[in-house]
Symmetry: C2
Subunit: 210 residues, 2 copies
DNA sequence: GTGTTAACTTAACGACGTTAAGTAAATTAT
DNA sequence: ATAATTTACTTAACGTCGTTAAGTTAACAC
């Protein structure tokens, strides 16, 4: 039964309601497995109502990713309090992995599922803002280590270093999330794997006197 | 129009025909985007005929992965000719990455997509056979480096070492496959990233006198 | 020559994402 | 005050999907 016109705040509230319901379902059962009808049922509306607020299913997903990227960046921001730049860089890796392994379906949505490239133009997040952009945070932290002269001298590209560190930690996390149940491989303890990766990254990137 | 009973060989031939058609479509357009009707059309049968040879769409996918895992392992086997164990280990990493980046949709299917855990019991492939099991090949190659006494002395678990190397290379490949189109990140050259990862792995894992 | 069986086909089902068409309350215009 | 419009929804419906059920027809068995 259609009531009165809604204020902008009310519309935003409903948007958030949809996003939260959809995320809850996406995260526990996977994006493909969840239907629009299901999301709608959760919040007590008909399926077609979602289309009044989002263009399509993909737009809902995109909105979720936006919100969650912000959550990731925000949660990682606490590590900025650590003073030593190398320690800080390590802590960032552990914080990132902790997020990935604590919320694997979240992480899958964000970094492992076939992705809609996220366009800075269309995102509500601010790029190059450490509080909203986890990659920028990583780059900042890596840059501090660089400025402290701790990297091997031939390493001059902060983006390159940041991306290799990201890849290392992402590799550990994504293999764990996707393949841990695979009997084919004799998996070692995940924390041992993560720790060795961090050690290898540090030893491979920093100058000798650790 | 339905002809005579088929020999086992003929049935196997048709199975292969389906697998090849399905792979071709899956790899270029993604699993979800390809329909059973489409696969069938490719080989000149009706969609329902596929169900005479495979239980469902997932079974087709599983069969493809089985064949392709074998193909990957076989293609990587050539690096066994390299004599120096460390060089061999590096070459394996490059070979693996070359496969991943040359056939990204293949790779996505095999190591990135939400996976049906593949059960050694049900697979036609032999586990612990270097010609059929890429992980075993990696482990063998890593073990040779271990036996040559080239790893740092505290590294005593060959599975752990192998899994960290895999994670490193997989991290580079999977980020490239999934995120390279993402404008958010200022991506550096993929070959530079791969090379630095390999260097970092070597430097982080091997004893000092490289 | 009349079943029986194997290898197919077409029809059909229920569910999906999405669009079109309808409905009723609140607002605005007269 | 009431008629017209707009807003926020709903139900119906479309085309497509994976899959199942129900034919159909050629080859074989007796």
């Amino acid at each position: 039964m259609p009531p009165k016109p809604k204020t902008e705040a009310e519309r935003q509230q409903l948007r958030t309601l949809i996003i939260d319901a959809a995320r809850d379902l996406f995260v526990t059962r996977g994006v493909e497995a969840v239907t629009m009808r299901e999301i709608a049922k959760r919040i007590g509306y008909s399926a077609t109502s979602i289309y009044l607020h989002f263009a399509d299913k993909e737009a809902v997903l995109r909105a979720i990713l936006d919100v969650d990227m912000l959550a990731l960046a925000t949660s990682l921001n606490t590590i900025l309090q650590i003073e030593d730049p190398v320690e800080r860089m390590q802590a960032l890796g552990y914080g990132y992995a902790d997020f990935a392994l604590s919320f694997p379906n979240h992480y899958r949505l964000m970094f492992m599922a076939e992705r809609i490239p996220c366009d800075p133009e269309k995102s509500s997040l601010q790029k190059n803002n450490a509080e909203q952009d986890a990659y920028f945070l990583l780059k900042t932290v890596v840059n501090d280590v660089y400025l402290a002269g701790r990297f091997k001298e031939e390493l001059q590209d902060v983006d390159l270093i940041a991306q290799v560190i990201w890849a290392g930690v992402h590799g550990i996390c994504s293999l764990e999330i996707n393949m841990a149940n695979d009997k084919w491989v004799n998996w070692t303890d995940i924390s041992a794997r993560l720790q060795l990766m961090q050690t290898v990254l540090i030893r491979g990137l920093l100058r000798e006197p650790t």
